[in-house]
C-alpha cells in the first residue's frame, strides 16, 4: 500500500503547445494529488509560459489543456508555485497569470503563488522526490 505524506515535487520547465510535456505533467499532478502525497508544483523557466493569460489552441486544431490547468485546485493540486524571475524575463505580469481555481467561499480566483528563486531552491531541497518536465 502507498504510504502517505511523502514530499513530492513536480517541476514544469518546458513551454506549452510546441510539445506535450506540460499537458502530460498536468496528468501526473492530477494523479499524484489523489495519492495524498504532500505535493507541490513549480512552474519555472519556460514552464511559466503555460500560465500566460488568454491562450487558445483552437486555431492549431489541438485540444489543449487550459481547462485542466484552470481546474488544478478542484483536483486538489493546491500548492502551486511560479518563479518570479522566469515571469519577469518573459514579460508576464505577476497579476496577469491564469487562475488555477476559485475560492470556495468568495469565488475569488486562486493563482499560483509567486516565489523568489531562493525560496524555490529551499523548497526543492526538502523534497523526497522530484519529477521534472
Amino acid at each position: 500500500m502507498a504510504e502517505k505524506g511523502k514530499k513530492v515535487m513536480v517541476t514544469v520547465r518546458k513551454p506549452p503547445h510546441g510539445s506535450i510535456y506540460v499537458q502530460e505533467s498536468i496528468e501526473v499532478m492530477f494523479i499524484f494529488a489523489t495519492y495524498e502525497m504532500d505535493l507541490s508544483v513549480v512552474f519555472l523557466d519556460d514552464g511559466v509560459l503555460a500560465l500566460h493569460a488568454g491562450q487558445d489552441t483552437k486555431g492549431l486544431g489541438i485540444k489543449g489543456f487550459m481547462a485542466s490547468l484552470g481546474a488544478l485546485v478542484d483536483w486538489e493540486v493546491t500548492n502551486v508555485y511560479v518563479d518570479r524571475q522566469s515571469l519577469k524575463d518573459r514579460g508576464i505580469a505577476e497579476d496577469a497569470i491564469i487562475a488555477i481555481g476559485k475560492d470556495d467561499d468568495s469565488g475569488a480566483p486562486i493563482r499560483p503563488k509567486v516565489l523568489d528563486t531562493a525560496q524555490i531552491a529551499a523548497m526543492m531541497t526538502g523534497q523526497h522526490s522530484i519529477v521534472s518536465f
Partner: protein, 118 residues
C-alpha cells in the same frame, strides 16, 4: 537503496533510454534494488517488441524485457501509450501497461526517483 526510474523519451532517438539503462546496471551491480521503471511521454515507445535495429546495434526493448524478467516492475503509462499506439498487441514481454498511479506507488516505495528525458 530502493530506486525507481522514469523514462520520458523514445528509444534510439534520444540517449535517455541508454543513460537510464547504464545507470540501472550500475545500481544493480552495487546491490541496490530497482523498484520499477516507468515509461511516460514518448518513453512509451521503449516498450514495442516490433523494433528491429541493425544487428550490430543494441536492441532496446529486448534489454528492457530482460530486466523485466529479473522481476523489476516495468510499467508503460496507459494514457501516453494509447495516444502513441503502444498497445498489448505490440508490447514486449515482461512489460505491462497501467496507470500513472503506478508511478505514484513507485515513488512511495522508493528512496529515490531518477528521471531520464530530453
Amino acid at each position: 537503496m530502493i530506486i525507481s526510474i522514469l523514462v520520458l523519451e523514445g528509444p534510439y532517438n534520444h540517449e535517455a533510454s541508454d543513460s537510464a539503462y547504464n545507470f540501472i546496471q550500475a545500481a544493480l551491480a552495487k546491490g541496490h534494488t530497482i523498484r520499477g521503471i516507468f515509461f511516460y511521454d514518448d518513453g512509451v515507445y521503449n516498450a514495442t517488441k516490433l523494433m528491429d535495429p541493425p544487428q550490430d546495434d543494441r536492441h532496446i526493448s529486448k534489454r528492457w524485457s530482460e530486466l523485466g524478467a529479473t522481476g523489476i516492475d516495468m510499467v508503460v503509462c496507459i494514457a501516453a501509450a494509447k495516444r502513441r499506439g503502444i498497445t498489448n498487441e505490440v508490447l514486449a514481454p515482461n512489460i505491462r501497461i497501467s496507470g500513472l498511479g503506478q508511478l505514484a506507488s513507485m515513488i512511495h516505495e522508493s528512496d529515490r526517483i531518477v528521471t531520464f528525458g530530453d
